[in-house]
């Protein structure tokens, strides 16, 4: 009788295992476009859109960030978000190059998908190449700004001397 019960229990366990196979969840990320290109002037921002998709089969947390060296140039909105499988997020990336940044710069935007885990959490990430072309302002604008600054400086010196 007991042997029969044990056999029945064993079969039930096997059936449950067969009915509900252990599935390995995957962390996935996809992006488009494959690289970003910005044309900007020092002090003037330019924006591009990056699309991020969860290609995995479980909800994951996503973080989008720039390399440390250029971190302050970029405004990434949103920079952290959660996506369900197949969900797509439109990320606005705005670059505001500082005044002394004329030239071509190469950087990466990093898109990382991670699953918080009490063990070793696995993640998938993509490095998105970024090309920054920072053109100089037209000469007369630069001259105008320099002259304006110089004029203001002289003006303040003059004001101070008058007050005395």
């Amino acid at each position: 009788m007991q042997g029969r019960w044990l056999l029945t229990s064993f079969c039930l366990v096997i059936a449950v295992i067969l009915l509900f196979p252990v599935s390995l969840l995957a962390a996935g990320v996809g992006i488009a476009p494959k690289e970003l290109e910005f044309n900007a002037y020092p002090g003037r921002s330019a924006s591009e859109t990056l699309y991020v998709i969860n290609t995995g089969d479980s909800e994951a947390e996503y973080r989008v960030y720039a390399e440390e060296k250029y971190k302050n140039w970029f405004d990434i909105t949103p920079s952290e978000f959660t996506l369900t499988p197949s969900e797509v997020k439109e990320v606005q990336i705005t670059v505001s190059p500082p005044l002394l940044s004329v030239g071509d710069h190469a950087d990466y935007i990093y898109v990382a998908a991670t699953n918080p885990s009490p063990q070793l959490g696995m993640g998938a990430g993509i490095k998105v190449p970024v090309h920054l072309h920072i053109a100089s302002w037209p000469l007369y604008v630069a001259i105008g700004m320099v002259v304006l600054l110089a004029a203001l400086a002289v003006f303040f010196v003059w004001r101070r001397s008058r007050v005395r």
Partner: protein
Amino acid sequence: MADITKRIVAFLGSLLLIFALILTILPIPIVAYSDYPLSSSDTEIASALDYLRNNQTIQGDIGGFGTSAWATMAVAAAGEDPHDWKAGGDSIVDYLAANAGDATSVTDYARMTLAIIAADEDPTSFGGRDFVNLLKGQYNSGQIGDTSLLNDDFWGVMGLISAGESPSSEIIANSVAFIKNNQNGDDGWSWGVGQDSDVDDTACAVMVLIAAGESSGSNAITNGLNYIKSQQADNGGFLSWGATNADTDSWAIDAIVAVGQDPVSANWTKNDSTPVDDLLSFQQPDGSFYWQNGTPGMSVPKTTASAILALLGKLYPVKILEPEEGMQVYVRIEGQSSNIWSGNVTVTESDITADNSGTTYHLSDPTALGALDEASNHEERFSYYVTDEYGGLYAESIAGEQPSGANGWMYRVDYYSPSVGADQFIFAETTPPAPPHEEVLFYYGAWTDLPLKTSVNKTAVAKGEEFSVTVSVYNDTAHDWSTCENATVYVDHDYTTGSDGKVNITIDRDDTFKLFAEKSGCIRSNEVSVKVGTGVSSQAQVSLSVTITPAISIEVTPNSIDFGDLTPGYTSNACGITIDNKGGMSVTVTAETTDQAQGLFVNGLKLDNNSWRSFSKTIDANDNLQTQAKLAVSLNYAGVGQKAGTLIFWAEEAS
């Protein structure tokens, strides 16, 4: 002394302030528009494109048939794909294709050709029509279209140049001469022969002459530009009917750019205003351009499209196809039960391998067999089997259709049955038939089968409006055509031609029909398109959808690893990790490990028995790779309890 210094400083300061104010306040419009040409991300262009986009209908059109072609060119010039321009329905390119039958004049054909090429489509086969041939068909008396008109020559030449027609070809060379011969005494051009000059047509003439290879320093161009300059108003724009307007400014700017000059240069600046300043003054808050402020004009979308091109520094033609070397011929392949392929090919020399022997033959001239070979390599590929066992090269089967009994594959050039094999028929050389050789017809049938030809009296009719189909048969003895009685014409259903070779047809539903004729003992005819009503069938709508794969995408399985219980000094069992490349291109994958566990994972994690730092693999698109992860806990590791870390696999496009 100190007083003098103060006064000098005060004087200099005042001067500098005044100078600075002049520099910072006055140049605002110059700063705004001296960046000419504008880019598509500039507000002026972006808002103009938004205006066009907001005016697109679900059918795909923007402002109707003609304007949609102009809008297509503007969209392409702005670097966008017109195929992506849709308002929840058909794209603007779909719209142009569906309504291709509406083009009836030289300027229609030219505008369509320019738009089709701008949209990276084939102008020789678009919406069932060959616009290049339609344009060429308008060539007469050494010019294109009406001999009393010039604008049809401007745009006709422009369309053909865009389609890759050589400037040295007879049609271009003669038409250009016609245009130059009709330059008025005041150095301008008009829309018609002997009519008064205007800036719009002069600008067109300058653009088309430059496109046709005329030197920007030639008398015709220099004088034309002088005429345009003479019409520049004090506000920088160009006069038309006594005032400036956006359309005239746009084309004049195009002409200036065409000759390599800068429309915002001092040469084109009047009272500190440039043509670009005047053009921008017509932009409305919604991004559109009015003909004149307060006067929208005949077509706001068309005016806006023209302005976009001019501001971008682009001109007509927006795109020019590279002239292909070799002979261009029309190839039609008629199989046993249907047409297998038809279209234009350019053939030069060919290397053809006989399938039976494996021997490759080099045909150094453009041959009929070379044309078949070219056709087989087109997008809609078909296979053919060629044998050398009968002496020369012979196409024994095409698209799998094998010879049987007296029936097999034959060929004709311009409907004539040559006496040499297809590998020996050299275009523009072999006779008969006499050159120019325009069409080669490969057909499955008997030696005695005769070609049929179908023509219609109208290519576009209203619903319920009658049109007539005529079927002719080729006479192999007289080498001419005669009417074909009792031929079956396939349209919406079968019709039979009468003794005059004609059949009158009336159709009561919207659709575009491709009709052809067949008759026993004859070769299936060419196809002719007839648009009925809107030309769009309401009976069968096919819903289209597509899922676009991300450019780069990877997936890592599993999403966490538990290495179990480990004692310092021991290494875990291997845990398998799969990395799938789900994107459209090869990627290089590297690894990065972080933890807040005193370096447990950073120092101890190994991938394929090596430090994770040395992991670097390339995975092809839609491929995957397996790697084994182990955790080695150093003997002196001090932590206890459950520890967490992160392992990220980074993908970037493989170089």
